[in-house]
Subunit: 362 residues, 2 copies
């Protein structure tokens, strides 16, 4: 008792510690800890009493102390590869936002919180936060951050299969090749003779796999590749590239755009050149945005299902953190979804009033 009182002397009065609760409840510190954590075997009366006193004092266990003692912080890092100055590309692509949202939700449901930590963060920030594990979006070949984390023995789960020999704990990805091949077949089936590609200049896996798949498809069907690449992080460059693609002498009669804004960019470019969509030009782009349901015409989009990916990634990571031996495979391929709209159909199925934005969720 007297020990508890004296030891609190130097403390700020704002927050009550476990000692204060113990003193106020007339029990020992252990009893308080056990009572609040549901451990040990205590009479219900004691348990209730302690809880009551703790509530009255507004007691909140110190997260730092608990973390130090238990070695678990309940914190998961969310790392995004970055382009340019800005720490990450949340905005440009609705994908990241959706994925982060689902990941946050899934983490929360299991008692974890997400910490946003761009890969380019100052090192002192990284080392200043106690993480139980990390989600990495689109890790680059030799990402030093990931290596460091793995070396520390922290579980790392990546969105996108790791390039090279990056030793991640698990990964979740789409089958980008299959998705691209599916779209090209879809466009060819709608009558396209020369399909163009709007792609990126960066070296990430998504861009690489998609472009490669396109080139192989061209080779297989005997079409000359028609594509423009631009730095995907620069929205203006996208509009310019779309324009260039349609200005070419070997102008394609169908285009697939790998990035979210490509749809409106291509539509705008088509208008500039007097091309009607879908009559003169078939259009598909990869996007999670619902605006494409209401453009004129509505544009066919490929969804990478970021919600499912975000959820899966977090589940895998928390399984690894907690040592749960779930039956989830550590390498998951999430199927993509092609949302077919007017822009990729030579004969629109119905010319009646288009329904207001369908609930293409989950």
């Amino acid at each position: 008792m007297s020990r508890a009182e004296t030891s609190r002397r130097g403390s700020r009065p704002g927050r009550a510690g476990i000692r204060d609760v113990a003193a106020a409840a007339g029990v020992s510190i252990t009893t308080v800890s056990d009572a609040l954590n549901g451990k040990g075997r205590l009479p219900d009366a004691t348990r209730r009493h302690v809880r009551e006193v703790a509530d009255r004092l507004g007691y909140r266990p110190s997260a730092a102390a608990r973390t130090l003692r238990t070695g678990k912080s309940g914190l998961i890092g969310l790392t995004v590869t970055t382009y340019g100055d800005e720490p990450f590309t949340f905005t440009e692509f609705a994908y990241f936002a959706e994925m982060a949202r689902a990941a946050t939700s899934a983490a929360l449901a299991r008692g974890y919180a997400l910490v946003i930590l761009p890969a380019t963060s100052r090192h002192d920030v990284w080392s200043n936060v106690a993480l139980d594990g990390t989600v990495v979006i689109d890790p680059s070949d030799q990402d030093p951050v990931v290596s460091e984390l793995v070396r520390q023995g922290l579980p790392v789960v990546s969105d996108g299969r790791p390039a090279g020999s990056l030793p991640v704990t698990a990964w979740v990805d789409n089958d980008h090749e299959a998705a691209v091949l599916g779209i090209l077949d879809h466009l060819a089936g709608a009558g396209a003779r020369r399909i163009g590609l709007l792609t990126g200049t960066s070296t990430d896996t998504y861009t690489h796999l998609s472009t490669t798949a396109y080139l192989r498809w061209c080779e297989r069907v005997g079409q000359d590749p028609v594509y423009e690449a631009y730095p995907a992080h620069d929205p203006c460059a996208g509009a310019v590239a779309a324009d260039r693609l349609l200005a070419r002498p070997d102008r394609p009669d169908a285009v697939y755009g790998l990035f979210d804004p490509n749809g409106t960019d291509l539509l705008a470019a088509a208008r500039r050149y007097g091309l009607r969509v879908p009559d003169d030009l078939l259009l598909v782009c990869c996007s999670e945005s619902t605006v494409y349901a209401n453009t004129e015409p509505p544009i066919t989009t490929l969804s990478l299902k970021p919600r499912r990916i975000g959820t899966a990634v977090v589940q895998l990571l928390i399984d690894a953190i907690e040592g749960v031996d779930s039956d989830r495979p550590v390498e998951q391929v999430i199927p993509t979804e092609l949302i077919v709209r007017t822009s990729s159909q030579r004969r629109p199925p119905r010319t009646t009033v288009s329904p207001p934005r369908s609930p293409e969720g989950a």
Copy 2:
């Protein structure tokens, strides 16, 4: 020495502690701490030596221990008000994504990281993470989370001026009333006779202030209010509400939409009713999205400048955390920006080829 060795006995060999470094460098723990943190007065030789040994052992100070000792975690909460099941509305509105991005960037630059903590998080998650302060986006009148945080003595800075008597440390906001009045004047100046509003049913400050400003403007100029309200978190409801607004017998000849997707929704609805924009219907919506630069026609948007807000909020919060007495005012009003495009001008200034997406940044 021997004490250090014995004390390490039970530890996992994976991570080196400060004790290990001290032993390996042949100095005391304090010296290691001082050398690595640039404190105390040590000869450069010692400092270098310690740093070298620490590097060799791959020493990383335990964030948990440091937090416990110093009382600072370097972590800032980012709380978003939520609608429905999903923990927060990152996607629906590019605003949040932009704001979060800027906030992350600003926090990082000052050595802090952001933790995503929706207001509806399980309480145990909240209390399980040591925060130095919190950013709250659009706090509701009597947000229990905010009250709790303030009661704990944590600084809280809100995006959006706090409703009621919420005792936040500081806040940053736009002048929503002025923005709405500006838009209405802009539309009236372009020839609008009856201006409609697409608004939300939720009780947040933004919706409330904007709607009120609209009603007052109507009263002032003697126009009957023409508006439709819908639950802003439901994208389908937005399309329906846009349709309803244009189907009314007292159909407006200009509409301002308070939410991001309203632009495409209204455009689609206008097409359904054969209304030409801007000839038959003037359109403005509040959005951070660049797609409106390339729609047909391009749509005038109001930007709330989320980047500036996100940055300002974080600066204020960190100032409060660190007790810095900066000259920043604790109540900041960030000016909005009206990006005038074709949709709100009766006589388009130029009918030539529209430039590809202007770089409306910062």
